[in-house]
Symmetry: C2
């Protein structure tokens, strides 16, 4: 757990304004870690709407199942959020479900609401039973301390192998009234699309009906977290939840075609991409942050599939770790994706350096220029398939010995 | 290139008997390596039949394209095989095709046959032009030295990052006549199904018609090389070719339903699995050889997809490297495969130790026993999905810092 700080760890963090109608506090429940916070408890004023997207794993965690059920059964209303780090409560069988039920009851009591209005998320080790008493022991005191900030403390409490807390904020004007969106995320390993984050929580004071909120967060996830892959390993616990307290003094937005949504949607997507990049930039053991753009594909779907094939290739990722402009491995990863590609139309760039064109090494290729591009901390790989207009960008990081060290010794 | 010797490197190698009708020699052509052989040239007597299976990459190497064309155009006849290591002649555009044409012509001249009867394979760096003059310079002398052995020399000439040469032999009696099958393989990285080997060449003296041979090798590949994955990265150059000289004194086998084929098929598949295991046991940087068996799936196809999802998971592979019985990551990999699975029916074993049952940790689980299982050099992971009768086994290795080191510095 003594991973080196990511080279992309920010030296300063943005100041997040309060979200009217949301208060929270953190606690040290001693679930796994010592001398650090591991519980986040947030309460929302009555009238708060909620939407979420979750892992597509066939073996989801107990909290993921709980949240899905409450979203359907509860009509999109939320009054509390309870999150812990150190234990994922995943693959814990009947006990796991019982823990979820008891935790929701304890949180509901502390928040003064129904258990169905409580949302839960857990992250950490899989397969270890999670003792619900850990929550019961701290919830009374924590509920008494809730406040509108600081968000950085909340982001810290949900970290596992993350080396820095991840927060972002945006403000837009709707009808001249400033509306705020705040977000936090955690995740550094077991990161792959479907959902690409492990946990992320967003809150806004905008008054947006739950079905509209659901459309916004689903589309937003596709453009952000679902474009990040660190190690191709989809988590059992991926959770992205968006809460809207409705406190901003504007008329409620109840239709997805409401024209006032445009600015909000853009701000939300910008915030989600910001957080997704932060997750990518804290990839376990990384030294490089890499964007992979595939264009000229037969469709955007095809472009994304090829981009992910490149982003998930251990040989591409180790070459980048070694600062080696090894475009042969990019060709290999294009070829194995199973999507339409014609070798002799391929062109490949590292940064601004075109290293291959028309299915062979670029005649003007300069190893020195390519090597210089590979020495950057942020590297853009571009592939033009020359077939159509499909385009996609995904983000990933390099694969280092440090990743192996972190994950060869995680449980102990 | 100074990788440590695989812990599974054999200390002795089998003695391979000659295959009547096949002779070969190796040469130092200086394609990339110094002071080692890098060219294998084999000649076959007239009447030799041939069949092969190749990478499904959309960006195959020039020699792969050549072999496919000759198999179709040449009616399954072969007179020569020319293989080199050090350069894959992949993604080399028009120049690559020209190299293939010139190399086949030079080999045909040396063997006294038509270029269409020459089969070619190249392995090594992708994207570097391969100079056909390298072959022309050594072929005359090499052709003058061809002999029925030793196969170990041939296997050595085609190695790249392999730490040991890979050979195997089987003998079966057909109509009381002993028939021999010899094989060699190379491959240690960029290994994933579709084909899972980079290069493997098999020869037999059995008289088997080319279409029958094709059926045998296709099915055999599915049961052997296509069940090995080292790093999920499918090569541009995967090639498996089976030659039959027909010298054994038995009546020709011209139908796939010929009852004499049974023993031959079993021997061939046993040999292919032997070579596939050798490839898996030379995985770059490995310390463990791992078999993953999934049973109780809804179909064999579904079982294999889940087994490969586990085998290719970086988190599972790093846990195995760390000798950590981290079955939570196995659950994760089952869940992300997208195939039917019910968390609460899952059971998982490491070796003989059942670590999880009915969707949770086994109540009788002993960390000490599981840890002892993880300390073995060969580790069997078994998952029972409890849904149906589909079953599959695949083979892989762990993911170590050494893999990252080898692949972060391959070109330089």
């Amino acid at each position: 757990m003594m991973a080196h700080l990511s080279p992309f760890a920010p030296t300063t963090f943005p100041e997040l304004p309060p979200i009217d109608g949301m208060r929270f506090a953190t606690a040290e429940a001693g679930i796994k870690y010592k001398n650090r916070t591991d519980v986040l408890f947030a309460v929302f004023d009555p009238g708060t709407t909620v939407a979420g997207v979750f892992t597509r794993s066939k073996c989801p965690s107990a909290p993921v199942e709980w949240c899905r059920e409450q979203l359907i059964a509860g009509g999109g209303r939320a009054r509390a959020l309870l999150v812990n780090s150190g234990n994922a409560n995943a693959f814990t069988g009947l006990k796991g479900r019982e823990t979820v039920r008891l935790s929701a009851e304890a949180a509901a009591k502390a928040a003064g609401c129904a258990p169905s209005e409580v949302f839960l998320a857990s992250t950490g080790v899989i397969g270890e039973p999670l003792d619900p008493q850990k929550f019961a022991a701290v919830l009374g005191d924590t509920a008494a301390r809730v406040a509108p900030g600081p968000w950085l403390d909340a982001a810290r409490a949900i970290m596992t192998t993350d080396t820095f807390p991840k927060v972002a904020t945006r403000t837009v004007k709707i009808e001249g009234v400033p509306v705020t969106i705040n977000g936090m995320a955690k995740g550094a390993g077991m990161i792959a699309p479907d959902m690409a984050t492990m946990l992320s929580f967003i809150a806004t004071d905008a008054p947006i009906a739950a079905p509209v909120l659901q459309g916004l967060i689903s589309k937003g996830a596709d453009k952000s977290f679902n474009c990040v892959t660190i190690d191709s390993d989809t988590s059992t616990s991926d959770t992205l939840i968006l809460f809207a307290t409705g406190k901003a003094a504007i008329a409620p937005i109840e239709s997805p075609t409401d024209r006032r949504l445009g600015a909000f949607r853009r701000a939300l997507e910008s915030l989600l991409i910001d957080l997704a990049h932060q997750v990518g930039k804290d990839g376990e053991g990384l030294t490089k942050f890499v964007s992979i753009t595939v264009e000229g594909a037969t469709s955007p779907r095809s472009a994304k599939k090829i981009a992910l094939s490149i982003a998930n290739s251990p040989l591409v990722k180790t070459a980048i770790a070694g600062e080696d402009a090894n475009w042969g491995r990019v060709v290999m990863a294009v070829g194995k994706a199973g999507e339409p590609a014609e070798r002799d139309r391929l062109a490949i760039w590292f940064g601004d350096v075109r290293v291959a064109v028309a299915g062979a090494r670029d005649p003007d290729y300069s190893e020195a220029a390519a090597s210089a591009a590979m020495k950057q901390a942020e590297i853009a790989v571009k592939v033009d398939l020359g077939l159509g207009r499909g385009k996609a960008t995904v983000w990933t990081c390099d694969l280092t010995k440090e990743y192996v060290a972190i994950n060869g010794d995680y449980r102990s």
